[in-house]
Amino acid sequence: MRIFSKKRGNIIEMVLNPLFHVLIAFGIILLLLNYTTSVGKSSYYEREFLSRNTGLMIEALQAAPNNVTAKYTLSTHGLILSFEKDKVVAYPHDVDPETSNVKVSAYPIIPSSLKIDENILKPNIITGAKGKEVPFPFKLSFQKTSERIIPTTEGYSPKHEEQKEANCIFVNTLDEVWADQKKVLIDVIDVGKQGATKDNILSSTFAAGICGSLTLGTSDKAFLPINSDCKTLGMSIDDHIKKIENLNPDLLIILFVNTNNETENTLKIYYVGDGADKNKEIKLACQIISKLLDADIKYTSAQKIGGLPPYLSHISSVLKGRTSILIDVGNINHLQNKDIKQISEALHDAVKTYYTS
């Protein structure tokens, strides 16, 4: 390198030569980064896994001595699974397998006298925050009879289509659960017909129903370090705010019941939408909605608390500064016991999923 020479070089040697070397080094780094990014983003592994896994399942069923029904949930990563006569093909939902061979993985199945029913299984894609598409996992079902193998999705509900508006995103809330004991507080505020004035909160049967069948913190205690509580915290909004602040939960879910509300059997979920916990709140809200997909209860998409109706504005302050969501249950007069149980189970499952994914 002439740059280290004692002899003083000209302007080309002193500036342009090192610059040229830096440019070449930059080009190499860019090339390698681009390559490693493309490897990281590629769905090659997922496609291979999905086609191979389901192909092996079919071959295992071919070996089964008798008729069998096998069901399992399989994460799809947004891939479409196509069962054809002699192979299982996996490809991204935005790719045409006829024209794009690059992104298609096929696993050939050793043929037998058993006919494989041709079927194309598509994941339920929901559009998440910032237009990110989030696939729901397949619930695969295989039925083997003496003559054929039938691959289908099990439990598919057309209600999934309504899910398209939900702000569902992936954010890691698994790691934090093991950091220390987590406190989950579910506070039921039932203002009855009076509306949310300051001191008319009821100890409603709804609260008893929700909290009575909520098993979080008992059956799950063994494997999740969660301390949960579900109750009506007081007779006034101020009581609630004070007690929530004293308890300082890591995760706060407020269920607001207002029998004066005109909308019946409709859940509205609000999240604070500010700060670092925004994505976590959206995730939790989406988890609750997803657990209610097969229920008879209607729901609307999760929305920012900025759009709170006036009757809920009293309690919005307590939601800020912690991971919290507010569920407006509305008029519960037409909720049956099974609906309440479903909401309770949805809360339980959503919190569990929240802390395990």
């Binding site: 896994f49 092996l56 295992a60 089964a64 001595p65 008798n66 050939p108 037998s112 006298s113």
Partner: protein, 165 residues
């Protein structure tokens, strides 16, 4: 081009340019070697393939043993795993009901029941591939199992070979 380089080489400036050109060719070659070795290194570190070769062949052997379309004894009510129907120990029956021979051959089998001649499925493929199974490109699974045939216990040997799918 050559005459121009020769003319250049005749004077001092030309000599410098020629020396620089050789030097740059060497440099570019080095850079290319560096880039390709890094890509090769990354590729060797990232294992993208899912190796299920042994499992695949074990499933084929299991199919021969347990599937009612293969060797396993069965009646209208149920199947009897571990009991071999002697009438099913027939090459044509197995090719028709157990593992169909198609244009695209995926697997070759040799099945040998004690006291009987061995039978083959995709025999030509089996005989071609079996000697090559020392290679990582091919898989081989061998099962030796006691089975019941009629009132007797006999040894059943199944050898499955296949190219990696």
């Amino acid at each position: 081009m050559l005459s121009r380089l020769t003319t250049l080489a005749k004077n001092k400036r030309g000599e410098e340019i020629a020396a620089d050109a050789t030097f740059w060719i060497f440099r570019i070659l080095l850079i290319l070697i560096l880039v390709f070795s890094l890509i090769f290194f990354v590729n060797t570190v990232i294992k993208k393939n899912i190796d299920t070769g042994t499992l695949e062949l074990d499933l084929v052997a299991a199919r021969i043993l347990y599937s009612p379309g293969c060797l396993s004894k069965s009646d209208e009510i149920r199947n009897y795993p571990g009991i071999i129907d002697k009438e099913k120990y027939d090459e044509n029956y197995l090719k028709l009901n157990c593992i169909k021979e198609t244009d695209r051959v995926l697997v070759g089998l040799m099945i040998s029941l004690e006291g009987q001649n061995p039978i083959y499925i995709n025999q030509e493929y089996y005989e071609d591939v079996e000697p090559l199974t020392f290679s990582k490109r091919y898989n081989k699974a061998e099962k030796n199992l006691p089975v019941i045939v009629g009132n007797e216990t006999k040894a059943l040997k199944i050898i499955v070979v296949a190219e990696k799918r």
